[in-house]
Symmetry: C2
Subunit: 146 residues, 2 copies
């Protein structure tokens, strides 16, 4: 099979998308025997870090819409990783259970290994430049940002 030219390779957006796909694929593989999806992991970690936060606050922090938080939280509760208590009639305070805290710790351990596989490929100064540039790109927020 012939290898085609691809002018898209010059584009920041396209390269971001392709690189992120590789990162995500590696992350999913990191989680393969962990029975948690990426969105569930990030949700768990933010709750662990912010006891008694609300579902909407978590969604805001990780850019997942309220409606899409529902099944994620449901699954975390179902698995006994998160517990919630009612604050007022419409808000729920989320906390990780002891099992959830343990799961979060293991998630962080795996994330560290995953991260290292990529960070190690970059010159330290370049890595810092990239890590500084990404929030700048993020800040070009579109109006409908969750």
């Amino acid at each position: 099979m012939a290898i085609l030219t691809n002018a898209l390779d010059k584009l920041l957006g396209y390269q971001m998308r392709r690189a992120t796909a590789v990162l995500m694929s590696d992350f999913v593989r990191t989680l393969s025997d962990f029975d948690m999806r990426p969105a569930e992991v990030t949700t768990l970690l933010v709750i662990a870090e912010n006891p008694d936060c609300s579902q909407s606050e978590v969604g805001e922090a990780i850019a997942i819409k309220r409606a899409n938080m529902v099944p994620i939280i449901a699954r975390l509760i179902e698995r006994g990783l998160v517990a919630r208590t009612r604050v007022d009639g419409r808000s729920l305070a989320l906390r990780v259970t002891p099992a959830g805290a343990k799961q979060a710790a293991e998630a962080w351990r795996r994330i560290a290994l995953h991260e290292a596989r990529f960070r190690d490929r970059l010159d330290p100064a370049d890595l810092q430049t990239v890590l500084a540039a990404l929030p700048v790109l993020r800040s070009v927020a579109d109006e409908g940002d969750a």
Copy 2:
């Protein structure tokens, strides 16, 4: 609503994902009155650049699996942007039609505007560093890379 802390913000993978989401959202908005999805645009541009390429070759170039190329190509043909001729019994040569070439030119014009919105936010030297780093991250390919 309280703003939560989020240790994930320190992570390369997480920042890549968030920044790419903003990029993609902006790109989709760029295409909103264009009636083409991102995958269709990239497919069209690669075919325009590589006349008589095969469906599998395009998929290889842009990391879309053969099976998922089928509806993309079908839609491009249906819209009269791409034509295909049989090469041998199993391969098809893809080319853009005149209408497809025109559509590709307009896509490039829109992509340039979209790109500029993000490139302009970065210091030129930092942009070059980022553009050099992304293919390095991509090269940490996982085995199952399309």
